[in-house]
């Protein structure tokens, strides 16, 4: 492209290269890129300040004593502001969960992959649809069609392995990371 900035006929000032479009484009691009990086650098702290803070992250583990939970019953503990369901499963529960073919599952996962000890299921008690707390922890609660949990908000059903079987929820109840510290004591988180 012809150089538009220099009047026709006048030579470029001594010591400068002829001003070509390529050089101008480069300057424009470099300046824009510099400004974009600057804006990004300024915006970043604002965005990042809204992510979980150090004290929120520090509250991230909970210890639970399992000894008082009788067979067939469940307890709910609070972890990171969310309920965690711990169910002491009966052998029938386990057998039923393991007999289910993976092809029948919405979010296929074996029961073995979801527990560390067969009789203890530990899952986050938050429906994977839109976050309600499913029913099924109290003996008087509705447990849904698969004898696990039932979410009253939009009708999702979960089985005794916490796997979603029916309804709008797309995923199984999440398994938090936890470790058995003794046979009857776990630490979540």
């Amino acid at each position: 492209m012809a150089d538009l900035a220099t009047p026709p006929g006048s030579a470029p000032p001594a010591g400068t290269a002829p001003d070509t479009g390529g050089r101008r484009d480069f300057l424009t691009l470099a300046t824009t890129a510099f400004a974009a990086v600057g804006v990004g650098a300024v915006v970043w702290p604002f965005i990042a300040s809204m992510n979980p803070s150090a004290d929120v992250l520090a509250l991230a583990s909970t210890e639970v004593d399992l000894a008082p939970v009788p067979l067939g019953q469940a307890i709910t503990v609070m972890w990171r502001g969310k309920p965690v369901f711990i169910r002491h499963r009966t052998p029938e529960n386990v057998a039923a969960a393991r007999a289910t073919p993976l092809s029948q599952l919405i979010d296929p996962a074996t029961d073995e992959s979801r527990v560390q000890k067969d009789e203890w299921l530990v899952v986050i008690g938050v429906c994977t649809h839109l976050g309600c707390v499913p029913l099924g922890q109290k003996p008087t609660d509705q447990r849904g069609e698969y004898d696990g949990w039932f979410c009253p908000c939009h009708g999702s059903h979960y089985d005794p392995s916490g796997r979603v079987r029916k309804g709008p929820a797309p995923l199984n109840l999440a398994v938090p990371s936890y470790t058995f510290m003794t046979d009857t004591k776990i630490r979540i988180g």
Partner: protein
């Protein structure tokens, strides 16, 4: 004219002194005094002014509520109860604010309906319309966050369900939700930021309202006939004609408002919100505030999580492109015999969605919500584009004056003489 000063026409020396240096009075006089306005407005044209009044009431009561409100999960619920019981007139401030949100939405829904029926979204008012949709979105965000502040059961679970909508997006969804929460569930950081934003957004709304009105004063108002004013015989000055007509509407608005605040202040709310938030127990039947129910119905009509979320956001996104979906050059549906029926059905359908959105997700409501959702989208994506091509509109009147004045307002004077009106 003295150099550098505005040549003010005001007589009062103080006003004149200010106006020559900053011509605010001249501007108000031009935009709200002599502003030439179509002579045939009906009462639907009250609702813009009513919306502005609503916004002012919300900001006023909100600022005073904030003086006694505590944005902390441990205190929020009790601070609202204290406002209700111990703060002088606190109950009044809170009931005006809570019902004011409902009044604001009633007014804005009617305002939007007016725009859709009389084709106010069409050229040259597309941008004006889109700014309106922006205001509507900001209002929804503001009201949603405001409802979280009292930290009752519905506050908490409404916030949980709505923020979880974002988890539907693949890959980034989970991160977005954690970021929105500032933690791993709706908790104190969430409440704090919602209060901050709830305080901020109404002022952003006020800014967009300013742009909305600035755009309106470039194109001028639409009117029930949907035809452009052709000359001075078609318009009247805004003041005193429409200032007084707006005042009539305002009185009715205040009567309805007062009935809500003084006789049934909790009718539009939900009793569960008087139970303090409990993250461990979900109420059996979660419903959003009434003004969100149609969109909630669309969300639940789809059995797929992401699909429901996309359709819900899409139902509002469609409003942005409405000016380009409707190809008919005729604005007012008075002259569009088929679109008019389709739009009245759309209106009924909107109420059906509102109704099923408040019902549990069971039959027959699920099926009804599916049909209604289908019609909602069909209206925008099939019916309007199609009718724009095939519908035969009724003949348009020659001018506004011809249509509405007893003897047709005399001979038509054309636009060349359509200079600004004389002072009223």
């Amino acid at each position: 004219m003295s150099i550098g000063l505005h040549n003010s026409e005001f007589k009062n020396p103080v006003i004149r002194w200010v106006d020559s240096r900053l011509p605010l009075f001249t501007m108000m006089q031009k935009e709200y005094g002599t502003f030439p306005t179509p002579r045939n407005f009906n009462y639907f044209w009250n609702f813009g002014a009513l919306a502005i009044v609503s916004l002012m009431i919300m900001i006023l009561t909100g600022v005073f509520l904030s003086m006694n409100y505590t944005a902390h999960t441990g205190y929020a619920f009790d601070s609202v109860e204290r406002i209700m019981r111990d703060v002088n007139y606190g109950w009044l401030l809170r009931y005006v604010h809570a019902n004011g949100a409902s009044m604001f939405f009633i007014v804005v829904y009617i305002h939007i309906w007016r725009g859709m029926y009389y084709g106010s979204y069409k050229a040259p008012r597309e941008l004006l319309w889109m700014l309106g949709v922006v205001i509507f979105l900001l209002m929804m965000a503001t009201a949603f966050m405001g409802y979280v502040l009292p930290w009752g059961q519905m506050s908490f679970w409404g916030a949980t369900v709505i923020t979880n909508l974002f988890s539907a997006f693949p890959l980034v969804g989970g991160h977005i939700v954690t970021w929105l929460w500032g933690g791993f569930s709706v908790d104190n950081p969430t409440l704090n930021r919602f209060f901050s934003l709830h305080y901020l957004l109404p002022f952003v709304i006020a800014g967009v309202v300013f742009l909305h009105i600035a755009a309106l004063h470039v194109t001028g108002s639409n009117n029930p006939l949907g035809i452009d004013p052709k000359g001075p015989q078609d318009t009247i000055p805004f003041h005193p004609y429409y200032t007084s007509k707006d005042s009539v509407g305002l009185m009715v608005y205040f009567i309805v408002f007062a009935v809500l605040v003084f006789f049934v202040p909790n009718m539009l709310g939900h009793a569960d919100n008087y139970i303090p938030a409990n993250p461990m127990v979900t109420p059996t039947h979660i419903v959003p505030e009434w003004y969100f129910l149609p969109y909630y119905a669309i969300l639940r009509a789809v059995p797929d999580k992401l699909g429901g979320v996309l359709l819900m956001f899409g139902s509002i996104a469609l409003l942005f492109v409405l000016p380009w979906l409707d190809g008919s050059p005729v604005r007012s549906m008075r002259f569009r015999p088929l679109s008019r029926i389709a739009f009245l059905l759309f209106t009924v359908n909107f109420f059906v969605l509102l109704y099923v959105g408040g019902k549990p997700a069971e039959e027959p409501f699920v099926t009804i919500s599916r049909f209604s959702t289908a019609y909602y989208f069909a209206y925008f994506l099939v019916i309007l584009p199609l009718l724009g091509r095939i519908e035969r509109p009724l003949p348009l009147p020659e001018s506004i004056a011809r249509a509405v004045l007893p003897r047709g307002g005399g001979p038509i004077r054309m636009a060349a003489t359509a200079k600004p009106m004389e002072k009223a």
